[in-house]
Structure formats: C-alpha cells, structure tokens
C-alpha cells in the first residue's frame, strides 16, 4: 500500500472548516447589523392584553412620564418605541370593567441595553414581563429631530 492511499489531500480537508468559519462570521455580522439597525430605531415596549377582559385607561409609566394607551380589548397589543432614558422604572396602570384600578411595577430597566420589553396582562392581573437584551450596541441617544 502506498503511503498516501486512503488520505485526502490537505487542501480538501480544510475546505469544510474554512467554509464553516466564513459562514459563522457572516451570520455573526448579519446579527450584529440587525441589532445595530434595531438599536438605532430605539427599543420598544409591547403591551398585550391577555386578561380575558377589556381594559380601559391603560397607561405606561416610565421615569415619571405617562403614555396613555387608552382602551385595549382582549387580545389587543400596542407597541411603543421609546427614546432611551437611561435607567428607569417601568410601570403599567389600567382599569377593569368593575372600575378597579390595577398597578404593576416592573422594577428598573437599563434602556440602553434593551431591544424589547414585553408586558402581558394575565387573567389574574399579574403582568408577565420579558426583556430582550441587545448588549453589543448602545442605542442612539439623539433627540427627536424637529418637524
């Protein structure tokens, strides 16, 4: 048997490894570009009503400011993009048909690292709170340009 028999040439051996490396690099770059794109647009808060009841007076509160989202029927969702405001508390307030006001506070959020915050009002009037982080890129802190 010849010494080289049964062996693949060295260049052929390396091809899959190089392809894998390039593909990984490409995907990582694409993902980073996506985060960058989202980041420049600002993080958003997603509020969804899964309480089983219509809600009124839904208000999102961040850093002492309130965003009046109005009434939300069962299953409705609203997305609001937020200009990053550093570290701030996020709260949700709403009323049910019986006139009872419900308050929920989700603690502090570091907005510069958040890509999405999702608040889901559940039937027992607890709020499911999820935060997606985009740690690689800080969000643009530019102000809203004038009209």
């Amino acid at each position: 048997m010849k010494p080289t028999e049964g062996k693949r040439p060295a260049s052929r051996k390396r091809t899959p490894w190089i392809l894998g490396f390039v593909a990984t690099l490409f995907l990582a770059t694409a993902f980073a570009a996506f985060l960058r794109y989202r980041g420049n647009r600002g993080p958003f808060v997603w509020v969804e009503n899964q309480s089983g009841l219509p809600l009124t007076g839904v208000t999102l509160l961040v850093k002492g400011a309130s965003c009046d989202l109005g009434a939300m029927r069962e299953g409705a969702n609203i997305r609001v993009r937020i200009r990053p405001v550093g570290d701030s508390e996020i709260s949700l307030r709403y009323r049910t048909q019986d006139g009872v006001t419900h308050d929920w506070s989700g603690g502090f959020i570091q907005w510069h690292y958040v890509y999405r915050a999702k608040l889901i009002v559940r039937p027992d009037h607890t709020v499911k709170h999820d935060v997606w982080l985009a740690p690689l890129f800080a969000f643009s802190s530019d102000g809203i340009p004038p009209n």
Binding site: R41, K63, A71, V80, I82, R83, I144, P145
Partner: protein, 108 residues
C-alpha cells in the same frame, strides 16, 4: 388607518430629501397627542397637506415613538419617506397637529 398632517412645502421637501440621501428611510413627525387607532405594522398612511391641499401620503408605522423626557411633544409618528405616493390635489381644511384623515384613493 389614515392620518393627516399639514406641512410646509419646505418641510415636505426636506422629508423627501431624507429618503434620497440614503441614510435612513424613516422620518418622524412630532406630536403631543398619541394616535390610538393605528393598526400594527406599516399598514397605515400619513396624508400630507401643503398650502391647504392634500398632496400625497407616506406609509405610516403602527408604532409610535415616545420620548418620556419631552413634555412638549412626547410622541412622534414614524413614516417611510422612500414610498411617497402623490395624489391628485384635493382641498384640505386648515388644522393643527394631526387628524384622522377621511381622504383616500376611494374618495378622489
């Protein structure tokens, strides 16, 4: 959902230039009031009136930008400047801020 705003001629030109420079297709329109009837995604339209006449529309995002630190104009409508669609000129009443628009292709 269709919304309408009144812009100066120069402002509309500026917004259209925004798309031509290739930096960003999105532009904003500041407002004090939050529109609550927008539908999700780019399914809304922002009609623009210039000098008392409806001139066209931009696709309008269902998301609204909120700046909690701005007391004067906390909200901003987000629209896509690349897809400006001119319409045949239709008279528009004078108004401030934005309003739900009743103009559309079916009304022309």
């Amino acid at each position: 959902m269709d919304l309408g705003v009144a812009m100066g001629r120069e402002v509309l030109e500026y917004k259209l230039d925004h798309a031509r420079d290739g930096k960003s297709s999105e532009a904003t329109w500041n407002t004090r009031r939050l529109p609550k009837r927008l539908t999700p995604g780019w399914t809304n339209r922002l009609f623009v009136a210039v000098d008392g006449t409806w001139r066209g529309w931009f696709p309008l995002s269902g998301e609204v930008l909120w700046n909690p630190e701005d007391d004067a104009t906390s909200y901003a409508l987000i629209f896509d400047t690349r897809l400006w669609t001119p319409i045949s000129s239709t008279p528009a009443l004078r108004f401030r801020g934005w309003r739900y628009a009743t103009i559309g292709p079916s009304d022309q």
